[in-house]
């Protein structure tokens, strides 16, 4: 490892220690804000794991998130917490595999619409089940999980999503996905099982999203389908990843942090018009920064790399 690598590892390690100690000195408001930041960081990064290389825009974030939350609502009081998370991860993966096999042969646009429909379908199924079978629309989440626990679990999940993303980028799967993103026909003729690669990545991404939903559920104490399957989350995650640049592992996080703060501010100050403002922000990002902050950064550093010979 070069000195810069070692310095980077030390900086990341020190940053994580500081973050892990945050619940000790932050008050309830800042802890809650930190939880929101971590939540969207993990969601946007997990979304970018799949959508970055494949360029498929998924609006199914809330479907997986909501399923995670409902698994906690149903099983949280019955089973041990790690087991609940394990089941949430497994169900999220299973759902992603089924959805992936049936939809990833679709073209990009059809995929967007299907994933949006999927979130609505799952929500309606839950409503139907609750109304007809359990005869209640909402559920109380009584589990022994504090805000501090939520924070630490999300922090752990954030470390895991970056570690997995880093490993994938260096693996054969990561290389396969870059080729698929460039030209799917060429990928097939290089011997790449395109469907398997895409479904695998979709499932990995979905596991993280489902786990975020599960970890966040105790924060609400009461959930119903309209809270757990809120379609705004799907759109917010897309905007964040696009702002940061979904083609880089660190891109979505760069978008998630300022936009979480902005959305937090907007919903506190302008609760009635926040959705409208979010829409305008979305348009501005797509027009002004089509490749995100990561794309801008690459252009600037390339220009800088090209500049010295001119001056010399």
């Amino acid at each position: 490892m070069s000195p810069t690598h070692i310095a980077a590892v030390i900086a990341v390690g020190a940053g994580l220690v500081v973050l892990a100690l945050l619940p000790r000195y932050a008050d309830a408001y800042y802890l809650s804000l930190a939880i929101s930041l971590l939540q969207f960081t993990v969601l946007a990064t997990a979304w970018g794991l799949f959508s970055g290389p494949t360029r498929y825009v998924s609006l199914a974030t809330t479907a997986f998130f909501g399923v995670g939350a409902y698994i906690v609502a149903v099983l949280g009081e019955v089973l041990a917490w790690p087991l609940v998370l394990l089941i949430a991860a497994a169900i999220g993966a299973l759902m992603a595999v089924i959805v992936g096999i049936s939809t990833l042969r679709l073209s990009g646009l059809h995929f967007v619409i299907f994933t949006f429909g999927l979130a609505e379908l799952v929500r309606q199924l839950v409503i139907w089940y609750e109304v007809n079978k359990t005869r209640v629309l909402g559920r109380y989440v009584f589990v022994d999980i504090t805000q501090n626990d939520i924070f630490w679990q999300l922090l752990g999940l954030a470390v895991a999503v970056f570690a997995i993303g880093w490993l994938i980028a260096r693996s054969r799967l990561g290389f396969a996905l870059r080729i698929i993103g460039e030209d799917e026909t060429v990928a097939k003729h290089c011997g790449i099982n395109v469907t398997l690669a895409k479904v695998t990545l979709f499932a990995i991404s979905a596991v993280f999203i489902t786990l975020v939903g599960a970890i966040m559920a105790p924060r609400w104490t009461y959930i119903e389908p309209s809270i757990a399957f809120n379609p705004t989350i799907s759109f917010q995650v897309v905007i964040m990843a696009l702002l940061g640049g979904a083609h880089r592992l660190w891109g979505p996080a760069v978008g998630a942090i300022p936009l979480t703060l902005l959305f937090e501010f907007l919903s506190a100050r302008f609760p009635a018009t926040s959705t409208l403002i979010i829409g305008v922000v979305f348009l501005l990002i797509v027009y002004a920064l089509p490749t995100g902050v990561a794309g801008l950064w690459e252009r600037v550093s390339r220009r800088r790399a090209a500049a010295p010979p001119v001056q010399a």
Binding site: R172, E182, D183, T185, A187, K188, H189, C190, I192
Partner: protein
Amino acid sequence: MTVLASSAPVLEVSALTRAFGGLVAVNVIDLAVHSGEIVGLLGPNGSGKTTALNLISGVLRPDSGTIRFAGQAINGMPAHRIARLGLARTFQLVRVLKGMSCAENVKAGLVFHRPPLSRGEIDESVDRLLRHVGLSDRGGLPAAGLTYIDCKRLELARALALKPRLLLLDEWLAGLNPSELLIGIELIRSLKEEGLSILLVEHVMDAIRSLCDRCVVMNSGRRIAEGRPDEVLADPAVIEAYLGVSPGVSTDA
């Protein structure tokens, strides 16, 4: 020819058919490529040549007919499995991975072998293949900056990276200037000398005459002629397919 014919063909296509709606693009086509042979697939535009290649390489599924490659039926098999069996191709509209370096383009053909190659073998093969197609020292350059002929070279290197037994070339020589054409023909000839079997779709007659051992000519999805290049190019049915009939012109060879 008799020696070659006694061994089982590398590629054996029989009664291959594929329709798009009412248009039968490939209509009961028979075709064989023997080991070490270069076979030309000729015919006017729209005669179904590229569709035939797409059926063989697995981009499209045939409606009926069989395709046997190295003794195994591959009709209906997904493209990635056909590629892993050792059937590589280039595309009519050259397809390089523009967001990647030249070396990565070649690596794309090396990384997904079964069983996988070691990292050392991959790096060594990238250098060897780039040198083979005349792109030595370009490995680090982005593929987006290549000239047209260099894109074609890079695509060929990627196809060769699969260690194919059969190579499908879809108008690989099209669009090259006369001096590039000579280089291209020599490159293909060198592949044959290494023992590769090649099926090429081509319109460049000089290349067909100097490279092909045999030719199959298609028109409107059907096979209208087969034989040595000079034979088929003199065949009245072939001349009619390319140029149309004119009562004043004698088609005697």
